[in-house]
């Protein structure tokens, strides 16, 4: 009797404990959304439309973030335009043209994926910015930020593409060989289109990572609040803006920074939903 009842206690305790930890994960996300909303809601209701203007002068109570929103977008788009094709083509090449070097290269790429973003930023400051400076001063620029981000998102973009190609049925390849198609023809007409949605879904997530990256961009973008017009001009992104100004922001200024955090969260959610949609599933993505 005693063993049974104590066993029952341990089991029901475990059940409840596990339910609690499961709920905690949901609570964390809910908490993040709630804190950002509570911090920024009153301000947004009052001057929400002012946030979209192009005049960021916190000293004069002007909180138009358009230039930084544009900065975030152009920097990330260029990074994706550079890294996306390289990642996809390289993954395909490794799998179908150079299988012998695939393993070692993927090992290296996994190491790259673990390198801290501050170290990528450091590389940008030490190598890229001086180079671009020689080309067109000042060096810390949209181009530098995009190149650093491109190198940063490339590893995961490549690994996702490799996984997507690996999930294609082997019979596609066999059928192609039986028809004696060239490997490039196979890739262009069969393999890449078949794996396309999964690849694009992965790239969308990497675009989200680029948008959300703070440190690497902060270190090489120059951080001047200005509408981005030239590749060689300094830009400031939303994330960098938070990192730069949070240290001394007070009052409405601080609230505006929380509002920009909320905007980042919202965009991330939209991109994640898009990536699920492309995969045709509701879950199973990291």
């Amino acid at each position: 009797m005693i063993t049974i009842s104590s066993r029952f206690h341990a089991d029901s305790l475990l059940t409840w404990l596990l339910r609690l930890t499961g709920a905690a994960a949901v609570l964390v996300l809910g908490g993040i959304i709630a804190v950002l909303l509570i911090q920024s809601a009153p301000f947004m209701l009052e001057h929400g439309s002012a946030l979209w203007r192009n005049d960021w002068q916190p000293g004069q109570a002007r909180y138009g973030m358009a230039a930084m929103i544009a900065g975030s977008i152009v920097v990330s788009v260029l990074a994706l335009v550079i890294a996306g094709p390289v990642a996809v083509l390289l993954a395909a090449w490794l799998r179908y043209f150079a299988p012998s070097v695939r393993r070692p290269v993927l090992t290296l790429v996994e190491l790259m994926a673990g390198i801290p973003s501050v170290v990528y930023g450091l590389w940008g400051m030490l190598v890229l910015v001086p180079w671009i400076n020689r080309l067109a001063p000042p060096g810390a620029s949209w181009l530098a930020a995009s190149l650093v981000l491109a190198l940063m998102i490339l590893p995961l973009a490549l690994l996702v593409t490799d996984t997507a190609l690996g999930q294609l049925p082997a019979r596609y390849l066999q059928a192609g060989q039986a028809l004696s198609l060239s490997r490039v023809g196979m890739l262009r007409r069969v393999l890449l289109p078949q794996a396309g949605p999964a690849i694009v879904s992965g790239l969308v997530l990497q675009f989200g990572r680029a948008l959300g990256e703070t440190m690497a961009v902060l270190m090489v973008a120059g951080n001047v609040v200005r509408w981005p017009t030239s590749l060689f001009d300094p830009v400031r992104t939303l994330t960098a803006n938070i990192a730069v100004e949070m240290a001394y922001a007070t009052g409405d200024h601080r609230v505006a920074l929380f509002a920009s955090g909320l905007l980042l969260l919202l965009v991330t959610a939209v991109l994640l939903a898009l990536s699920w949609r492309l995969r045709g599933e509701r879950h199973e993505m990291a």
Binding site: A25, I32, W123
Partner: protein, 276 residues
């Protein structure tokens, strides 16, 4: 071989170079700047003159404490949630989808947003201030999805026949979890913990406004302490003449991360997707 295939071979090799050359340059530039600074004393001395001189001992201490707080929270919570997912939520149900979606979202949230949340919630609302505790807790939330996913993967990899055998012996749930499931999944769970350590060590933006950037050795968990990654950023951006030591600190950090990565490989070849 046809000409398109040959051309593709050449293009692929060029693309590979386009990735390898920047990585080589990264390593080379770090070594060029920082190698001269690294020595045993660099690891054992405290920083002086805002980090321009001296070593990184105080930062190693702070980083260690932040990491300890982070793991103490993230590991049990992560394991608990992973157990919940693998034991109590049947795959494919609505609840599994919602929880999976929540974890994906948590993994996608930009780290600066975790920083904002940690600053507002831990440092201000809970009154912890800029402290090791605030930083470690915010970091724990950030690595939680990774911890949960890798532990869940390890738990799901335990063969179903073990469960059947356990049920045939009418073992209690708690007994099954404690004596069979967790010991069997232990290597995979350890890999998850190591991956989480790597992610936590690499993170900077979360810590800027939670753990702060005081250079002293922390006396308690409520003191502010600067992590290695924050030190790299601060030296490179805000301290004139700090570049050599920023690069040296970067080398130390990368070395730690490479060792962790090798450990994971050694311990258990990570199942596909572990890097996610």
């Amino acid at each position: 071989m046809r000409w398109p295939d040959r051309l593709a071979g050449v293009i692929g090799a060029l693309l590979l170079l386009a990735v390898l050359v920047p990585m080589g340059l990264m390593l080379w530039s770090l070594l060029e700047q920082g190698a001269g600074v690294i020595s045993v004393d660099f690891l054992l001395d405290d920083p002086r003159q805002a980090g321009r001189a001296g070593g990184i001992a105080a930062l190693l201490v702070s980083t260690g404490w932040i990491l300890a707080v982070c793991l103490l929270v993230a590991a049990p919570m992560g394991l608990g949630c992973a157990l919940y997912l693998s034991e109590q939520v049947p795959a494919g149900t609505r609840r599994a989808q919602w929880l999976g979606g929540t974890l994906d979202m948590l993994a996608a949230v930009p780290s600066i947003v975790y920083g904002l949340f940690g600053y507002q919630f831990f440092a201000i609302s809970l009154g912890l201030g800029f402290s090791i505790l605030s930083g470690g807790l915010a970091l724990a939330l950030m690595v939680l999805p990774l911890m949960i996913r890798s532990a869940e993967q390890a738990l799901r990899a335990v063969p179903f026949s073990y469960r059947q055998a356990g049920e045939a012996l009418s073992i209690s749930r708690w007994g099954w979890v404690r004596r069979i499931l967790i010991p069997q999944a232990a290597p995979g769970i350890a890999v998850g913990i190591i991956l989480s350590i790597g992610r936590a060590l690499a993170e900077t933006a979360v810590l800027l406004f939670t753990a702060g950037y005081v250079l002293r050795r922390p006396d308690s968990l409520l003191d502010s302490g600067r992590a290695l990654s924050v030190h790299i950023y601060d030296l490179a951006m805000n301290v004139p003449g700090g570049m050599p030591r920023a690069a040296a600190t970067g080398l130390v950090l990368v070395a730690i991360l490479v060792i962790l990565n090798l450990l994971v490989r050694r311990w258990l070849h990570p199942a596909q997707g572990a890097w996610q």
